[in-house]
């Protein structure tokens, strides 16, 4: 126990100990005779946008803050008594589109008559930000190893991150005057005055990762804290840890044991660092066995920990804040689940092979509409009217229930709580915004609307009804007609809500079997450039993988997926006066989803047109190099990711290691998802806002 307490002290007090070490004796006295190795670093990291672009998944980056959208309410078909479809009977008149009268009306401030208007989100308290700071943290890490004897060790690594409030983020309280303010979801994430950078919250639990302490500005956790046992060819590690498999860098073909932690800097850190600080550690038992000189067996059993996405409102948030996410990791008992996996790796001279099988919960999870749980009536003139009409319906109709005449709940607030929406600011304000964002996050705005109604009786209870779907999505009408109906229904409800509706989705997880095969070959040639080229081909096959339905439907997409990557490594001296250049080329193809797991059926849509998807595999090409200068004091790096559908991310890096424990790195992320074709056909457009310069200053001890 005495040694363990010293180990903990060594890990936690490393900076102080490092200072003390320089001073002499104190450290020796504290640590006594135990064999303790401690090292670590502190690093300031900051990223500055080089454009005015902001993340459109956040309130301050929403283009509809400045874009005007026309809205007109219509009589719901449920109340139309034979009028049939959404959009047939207008409850207002949009004057802006009228000849002659329109401009005059606009000058008079009359965009519409009765329940029709022209709005932009700025009218509801939302402003766009021009803050150039995307990221600014102070990171400290230290690793300690306590050797108990030649077989047993305790190894720990602690990572602490602090994010000061220097970024101009969204204040949820700033829109309290509208629609009663934001009320749904986890308060720490959706109702705070400042973005919550690090707190990891799921429904029903504030500590979904037992070895993490996180709050709005800070994150402290153990990337590793393991008891290590070695004897002969056997090594066993038990504790919090992450496991990386495979030769591919950045492409996760074999790298299946852990989810990722996207908080902090998403995937925008140095490309050649890969996911070194992003694999989400999980309590695991890992056993490796060097079966023969050539064959290594590597197996794990792990407590399932999902991928952690950036919190809403944080600079690299990937889920539009118009959604409120309910993560069911704890509520549905996924936190008690175990993942299993085994990999065999063998190397025979120039040739090598590997095979992998895992039985796991996919850490990315899937999303679908869920009840909001927010009991709040509609507001505004139309909203009040709807509230009244709802209350006028008959209660307790039993088997004679019809949404036109009967209601299921005591009031409309109760009814709305059972729908995937709540009437609150910061949601979607117009049909234009709905379809624009659906396309952007690779969802289907039409099927998504019906999916928010069909499985939810309360939605029908508040007069929502399906729209007719276009033929390409199994319906009977044209997309124009389908869209006309959807626009009418969506805008009606947005007006009735008194501004916007926030959508509620839940995140659930699915077990899957993942299989992998890989082969490697080291080429030997008299041609200097072809000599020592290392080829690695890795393939993953997952039968019946679950994906988020592009309509956020209750039923997930379930399909077989394959992922194949080819990696070529080369070290070649290009310049006589410089050390050799390390180069890596990679290509990846996936038949169902993109690099981050979004189903390809959601690709290709635009605000005015919903696509049936990409229609072929998602392909990616990576090229990177590392060019050290003499003595390796300076180095330049480059990493690039090309999506042949028209997107590219290029990252040049400059490193300077002047010695004395100091390291300085600077890199620029050039992101362009508009090279050619439709931006929503490539992955990179999702990150289009992230042209930025990142600077890191590190001091190691």
């Amino acid at each position: 126990m005495r040694q363990l307490s010293k180990f903990a002290a060594g890990l936690l007090l490393t900076p102080a100990l490092a200072i003390a070490q320089e001073g002499g004796g104190f450290l020796d006295e504290l640590l006594g005779d135990m064999d303790l190795r401690v090292n670590g670093f502190v690093r300031a990291e900051s990223a500055y946008s080089t454009t005015q672009a902001k993340n459109r998944n956040n309130q301050e980056g929403n283009p509809f803050n400045q874009i005007e959208a026309n809205r007109t309410a219509y009589l719901p078909p449920a109340l139309a008594l034979g009028a049939g479809k959404w959009g047939n009977l207008a409850l207002g008149l949009n004057t802006t589109q009228l000849p002659i009268i329109g401009p005059v009306a606009q000058q008079l401030g009359l965009d519409g008559v009765l329940f029709s208007d022209q709005i932009q989100r700025s009218e509801f308290g939302f402003k766009s930000s021009v803050d150039p700071v995307n990221y600014m943290i102070l990171r400290g890490e230290s690793e300690a190893q306590l050797s108990i004897n030649s077989h047993w060790n305790i190894i720990g690594r602690i990572r602490a991150i602090y994010q000061p409030d220097v970024i101009d983020g969204f204040d949820a309280h700033s829109v309290e005057a509208f629609q009663g303010g934001i009320t749904g979801g986890e308060p720490a994430l959706y109702q705070s005055r400042n973005p919550n950078y690090f707190a990891y919250r799921v429904e029903g639990s504030h500590h979904p990762n037992p070895l993490e302490i996180s709050g709005r500005n800070y994150l402290v956790y153990f990337p590793a804290l393991v008891l290590d046992y070695s004897s002969g060819p056997v090594n066993v590690r038990f504790g919090n840890q992450s496991i990386a498999w495979g030769q591919s860098i950045f492409f996760r073909v074999f790298d299946v044991p852990n989810g990722l932690d996207y908080r902090r800097h998403l995937i925008l850190d140095r490309g050649l660092e890969e996911f070194s600080d992003k694999r989400q550690p999980q309590l695991s038992l890992r056993m490796t066995y060097q079966a023969t000189d050539e064959i290594l067996a590597d197996a794990f059993i792990a407590k399932f920990q999902p991928t952690v996405y950036p919190n809403p409102g944080t600079p690299y948030n990937v889920i539009p804040v118009q959604f409120t996410v309910h993560d069911r990791y704890h509520q549905f008992g996924y936190d008690d689940k175990l993942n299993y996996g085994i990999r065999l790796k063998a190397d025979y001279g120039q040739w090598g092979w590997q095979a992998m099988a895992a039985y796991r919960y996919n850490p990315d999870g899937t999303f679908r509409w869920t009840r909001s749980g927010v009991n709040k009536p509609l507001s505004g003139a139309l909203g009040s009217l709807v509230n009244t009409v709802y209350n006028a319906k008959l209660p307790n109709c039993g088997s004679g229930y019809t949404p036109t005449l009967c209601r299921l709940y005591d009031n409309i607030g109760e009814a709305l709580a059972e729908t995937p929406f709540d009437a609150a600011p910061g949601g979607v304000y117009s049909a234009d915004e709905w379809f624009n964002y659906a396309a952007d996050v690779r969802l289907n705005g039409l099927t998504g609307l019906n999916a928010a109604i069909d499985p939810f009786p309360a939605s029908r209870d508040v007069f929502a009804t399906d729209v007719d779907l276009p033929t390409e999505f199994g319906g009977t009408v044209s997309q124009t007609e389908s869209r006309r109906q959807a626009d009418a229904e969506l805008n009606t409800f947005f007006i009735a809500a008194g501004g916007s509706l926030r959508g509620h989705i839940e995140r659930v997880y699915h077990r899957e079997k993942v299989f992998g095969l890989g082969v490697s070959y080291v080429n030997e040639s008299d041609n200097d450039f072809l000599n020592q080229l290392i080829f690695n081909l890795e393939a993953q096959y997952t039968p019946d993988r679950n994906y988020t339905n592009t309509g956020l439907e209750n039923r997930f997409i379930r399909q077989n997926e394959y992922t194949i990557s080819l990696v070529v490594d080369k070290w070649h001296r290009l310049f006589a006066d410089f050390p050799g250049t390390y180069m890596v080329f990679q290509a990846l193809t996936k038949n169902r989803s993109d690099l981050v797991g979004r189903h390809l059926n959601g690709y290709g849509s635009e605000q005015d047109h919903v696509s049936t998807g990409l229609g072929h595999n998602a392909n990616y090409i990576v090229f990177g190099f590392l060019q050290p200068f003499p003595n390796k004091i300076w180095a330049v790096e480059m990493a690039s990711l090309l999506d042949p559908q028209g997107g590219i991310l290029v990252q040049p890096v400059l490193q300077w290691n002047p010695g004395k424990g100091v390291t300085i790195e600077a890199f620029y992320n050039y992101v362009n998802g508009h090279l050619w074709g439709k931006p929503t056909n490539n992955l990179v457009s999702t990150l289009d806002f992230a042209d930025e310069v990142t600077v890191r200053l590190a001091y190691q001890f």
């Binding site: 190795r37 090292n39 670093f41 690793e143 050797s147 190894i155 720990g156 690594r157 393991v226 290590d228 070695s230 002969g232 060819p233 090594n235 840890q241 992450s242 990386a244 498999w245 495979g246 030769q247 860098i249 890969e274 996911f275 070194s276 694999r279 490796t288 066995y289 060097q290 000189d293 290594l296 790796k345 190397d347 001279g349 490697s520 080291v522 030997e524 200097d528 020592q532 080229l533 290392i534 080369k570 070290w571 070649h572 001296r573 006589a576 006066d577 050390p579 050799g580 050290p628 003499p630 003595n631 390796k632 004091i633 290691n657 002047p658 010695g659 004395k660 424990g661 590190a698 190691q700």
Partner: protein
Amino acid sequence: MWIRKYDFNYGRRKLMENVAYGMGAGALMPLNKVFAAQGELSKAYPDELMSIDAYTKGKIKTGDTISADNVEIVKDLLDPCVYEQVKTMGRKFRIKKTCTDWTAMFPGEFYEATLRSVKSPAKFDADGNVVTQDGKTWGGGLPFPDPKTGDEVQANLCLSWGRGDYNQYAVNDTVLNPDGSIGYSYDLVWVELQAQARMDGKPFKGRTDLLRFQTVAFTASQDVAGSSFLSTWYYDQRKYPELYGYLPQFKRVRQFPTNQRFEPLIPGVTWFLSDPWAAGDPMRTWGEYKIIARKPMLGAFNTTMSLDKPNWVCGTHGGPKGTHFWDADFELAPEVVILESKPTGYPRAPVGRRLAYIDVRNNMYCGNIRFDRQDKPWVNFETGFGQYKQGGKTVFGADGKTPAWSWVYVMSYDMQTHRMSRARHLEQCAGGHKSVFKADNEEMYNKWFTQQAIQRLGQV
């Protein structure tokens, strides 16, 4: 009047003749025969090649310190880099008595094995690899106790680096900037396990296709700690080793290309993988081995290991801040082969040629200068070797009976940038790893030389 049998310059003249005629070591008689008989070194060399007093006719005496004040007297005995360091950078060294004890120049088991090989030295097969007279892979000890060609000298260096089946070196490498300030300080463990050329003559785990396993694991500073590399060397010296590395950023073992041998592994250092042992690359990936001189030289041959100092770290001196050079003892080696070689298998290498200064008594180098493509002197990978015995202290070797023998220090000095990598063989380095000369090979194999091992050694 006493008439000398040989004049004063006979020894040096004879050594030059030996080069011209392609003969082996020894001025008065073949060194090989003296060695085989475990005889007195004086039977092979005259006094002036074995005593600095005699060589300088009393101007320098054993025990004297060479400094800028008197270095001109021994200029011809120094490699050009050491001479410049003494002349212009404040380097000094003390001259100790020339070692004549054969057993002090080798690890005990290796000495015995080399004595055996005198009777039946190795030969090269058609592929240029070292084999026994009946064509089998080499068993152990120096394969060519009496090397007459550059290839044979190089084979003696490359076949068994540390001259033991297993060697584990705890190392600190401190990099000094040109102004003398410390730029970087790294701790690392360098571990070697011979698969062949072993003391028992038997291939380890039956691997007749391999020569050795070698792992380097960095334990400090923080930015490189947890990086480890495993090289598996083929017996066939035409083939590049396999290289697997664990880098903290990848969190896993990946295979890396291995044909680039002229790169600094970590920031600041002046040495390449190619430099250690003057044989850092497979022998047949270099070529044009040529003995260009045999001459007496001063060097850190059989130098003193500072076992009396904490963690075996001795004092420093010289340079801008008085910390550039290890305090070291030099001795006059009666015959040093200057071996030239070229990186013929690396068409884009920045190195034009290499000169290694090799003591024929034990066929181990001290100076190791590489030149750039313009033939300008670039880096001297100076290495002091010696027995691990000092005063009453002894560190025992693999046999547990005789003192260990190994490298003591490295000073890798870049003559163009004036940057110095100054490495020391430590008793223990950061991470608690100790230097080891005797260990269970099977256990060490599992500990250091498998992919599982370097995964385990890596940063978590």
